[in-house]
């Protein structure tokens, strides 16, 4: 089911949280609303689910205008951050609740609950209470309950935030598998860039109630539209250095990089260099500085290089190197993969 949010505006009292936002999601697509807390991503999700009223603009599911439809009548399933299972009901009753509301026959409810439980692999837990389940199992119940009505859209609000690291990894692929198997259109709200990148077809990166950039994970990583996007994606994060563009990029105190092809800016600009594009193992123009920090990670080390003018670049260097703290080095930058931004933060 295609979802179309047009010129969406949301106010809480006198504050406008989201203004004039448009978002279109293709049928069967899984999209992430990514951003820091307070950027309006959950507000958008709950406006789509119907819990928040839409103060301006329209929302369509396919050809159907659902802008003013109450949440009960919208064909959406929601998974909440804390799962919101009904504590006084068994797993089977939890999953069956939406069907009971629809007044289906008991036998039919039982059949569909069983079917759903198999899909999320909790068929043996149907008699338990939510308190007797692990976090991952509760998550599966929440998914089953959201999907049992066969909704057109699946909305996931920070579904992995309450899980420990190992389960998070497991549920990440599990949710994606379910989404693919059911072919349902899904929206994932998260503040975790790794979740967004690994689970979704496209990412909408939000900031202060606006969509800063919307594109596929790799496109967003390779060609961030702004300083903000570049800084948000990537772990370890990208390093930014200030430079003066004057035919070449002057980094101060003797360091300079040639201007990348096709760019003809002058004046103050910001260069974003990802740690994996800087280091002794790369080809390209070099930048010299002093090793100021080494963080071993096993397979590779993170090494900070402080330039003579105190700006800092981070490098990922394969383990087994002989660099030491305080050592002067001159390492290469993969110039074609650097990102240049003007003073306003826009990509050059």
């Amino acid at each position: 089911m295609q979802i179309k949010l047009q010129n969406f505006t949301k106010r809480f009292g006198d504050t406008t949280v989201i203004e004039d936002m448009s978002l279109s999601i293709a049928s069967g697509e899984m999209i992430a609303l990514l951003g820091p807390s307070g950027c309006g991503k959950s507000t958008t999700l709950f406006a789509i689910s119907g819990i928040h009223r839409i103060d301006g603009g329209s929302l369509h599911f396919g050809d159907r205008d659902v802008t003013t439809l109450p949440p009960q009548d919208r064909p959406v399933g929601v998974v909440f951050q804390n799962y919101a299972l009904y504590p006084h009901m068994s797993v089977a009753e939890n999953i069956g609740f939406p069907l009971r509301v629809q007044k289906l026959k008991t036998a039919e409810i039982k059949r569909r609950v069983g079917e759903m439980a198999e899909l999320v692999q909790i068929g043996n837990l149907l008699k338990r209470r939510p308190q007797q389940l692990s976090g991952g199992q509760q998550q599966r119940v929440a998914l089953a309950r959201a999907l049992v009505r066969k909704p057109d859209v699946l909305l996931l609000d920070e579904p992995l935030a309450n899980l420990d690291a190992k389960l998070r990894l497991e549920m990440r692929s599990e949710i994606r598998r379910l989404q693919r198997e059911t072919g349902i259109t899904a929206i994932l709200v998260t503040h975790d860039q790794i979740e967004a990148m690994s689970m979704c077809d496209r990412i909408a990166l939000m900031r202060d109630g606006r969509i800063e950039q919307i594109s596929t994970p790799s496109e967003m990583y390779e060609r961030p539209a702004s300083h903000y996007v570049a800084g948000f994606l990537g772990n370890p994060p990208i390093s930014f250095v200030q430079a003066e563009a004057n035919g070449k990029l002057i980094l101060g105190a003797g360091n300079a990089l040639p201007m990348p092809q096709g760019i003809s800016a002058r004046g103050a600009i910001t260069i974003g260099i990802r740690p994996e594009h800087f280091g002794p193992q790369h080809q390209g123009p070099s930048v010299s500085g002093r090793v100021s920090f080494i963080e071993p990670q096993g397979r590779e080390d993170l090494i900070d290089v402080t330039l003579p003018d105190t700006q800092r670049l981070r490098a990922i260097v394969p383990a087994g190197h002989n660099f030491a703290l305080g050592q002067d080095v001159s390492w290469q930058v993969d110039l074609s993969r650097t990102h240049l931004f003007n003073a306003d933060g826009a990509r050059l």
Binding site: I51, P71, Q72, G77, V78, N82, A84, P98
Partner: protein
């Protein structure tokens, strides 16, 4: 249990000393009700049950039987409890969850009424009851008592509702259920421990109420145990303290039984939790 008692014997001793006066008083309440002390003394001389005679014979011709009065008290206490609970579960939900005009005003009013010295209202209430024709009737006292207990009940229940996560409600709505159904099937079960505690508390409050029945229903028909006891010693020139203590024991028995049965659940009202 054993080891902790041994380890804290000093604490146990101190607490025993402090509660000794209370224990002694309760002890003599019981002893005096089934014995006759020497005149001017406290040591029981002989054991007898004459003080409990009110159970099987009228203590004097002018008074209603104890069973009639006990029935009145029970009707008074349980009607109060049911009324308080019925209004509290709905009003508290509205205050906790719904956004309606003057909500803050109602909340502030609730706290104020909770702390209000209700005795100052008694003249006004008297006039209102008189006007409604409910003066000197059990019905009238029930309505007044329930109304005065409501702020406490609503406040307690609101605390319980507040501790139910919003997401459960949102999930219910998203699952297609109406707000009313969500409240009845998903939210109400979460606050059941609080509701039970409130039911017991308001029952006990009704059971032990004295001033309201005394002032608003002084007639013999609507007498409750508290006013009955008052009448037993107020009327006579030579008060029968043995009888008075026996009736007092009888009056306190249900309270003790309820506390013994439900003490765990009553603690809930102060914890405000919804576990289990």
């Amino acid at each position: 249990m054993n080891t902790s008692l041994k380890g804290n014997w000093l604490l146990v001793l101190a607490m025993s000393l402090m509660s000794a006066p209370l224990v002694i008083m309760y002890g003599f309440q019981l002893i005096d009700s089934i014995s006759r002390p020497a005149p001017g003394g406290i040591i029981p001389q002989e054991w007898e049950l004459t003080n409990w005679r009110f159970l099987w014979e009228p203590i004097d011709s002018a008074r209603p039987s104890i069973w009639r009065v006990t029935f009145n008290t029970f009707v008074f206490a349980s009607s109060t409890a049911l009324l308080v609970c019925a209004f509290s579960i709905t009003a508290a939900y509205a205050l906790s969850r719904l956004n309606f005009p003057a909500r803050r005003f109602f909340l502030a009013g609730l706290i104020m009424l909770h702390a209000f010295p209700t005795i100052t209202l008694i003249i006004a209430i008297f006039i209102v009851l008189q006007f409604l024709g409910l003066y000197d009737s059990l019905m009238g006292v029930i309505l007044v008592k329930a109304a005065l207990e409501l702020p406490f009940g609503i406040w307690i229940m609101k605390g319980f509702y507040d501790s139910v996560p919003w997401e459960i409600e949102m999930a219910g709505v998203q699952d297609g259920a109406s707000r009313f159904r969500v409240w009845r099937e998903l939210i109400l079960p979460q606050v059941k421990p609080g509701l039970l505690a409130l039911l017991i508390f308001s029952f006990l409050a009704g059971w032990s109420e004295f001033i309201l029945p005394l002032v608003l229903a002084p007639g013999a028909d609507a007498q409750v145990l508290a006013t009955y006891m008052n009448a037993v010693i107020a009327d006579d020139t030579r008060p029968d303290y043995g009888l008075f203590k026996a009736i007092g024991m009888f009056y306190a028995l249900p309270v003790i039984a309820i506390y013994l049965l439900f003490q765990k659940r009553l603690m809930n009202i102060y914890g405000g939790g919804t576990k289990g």
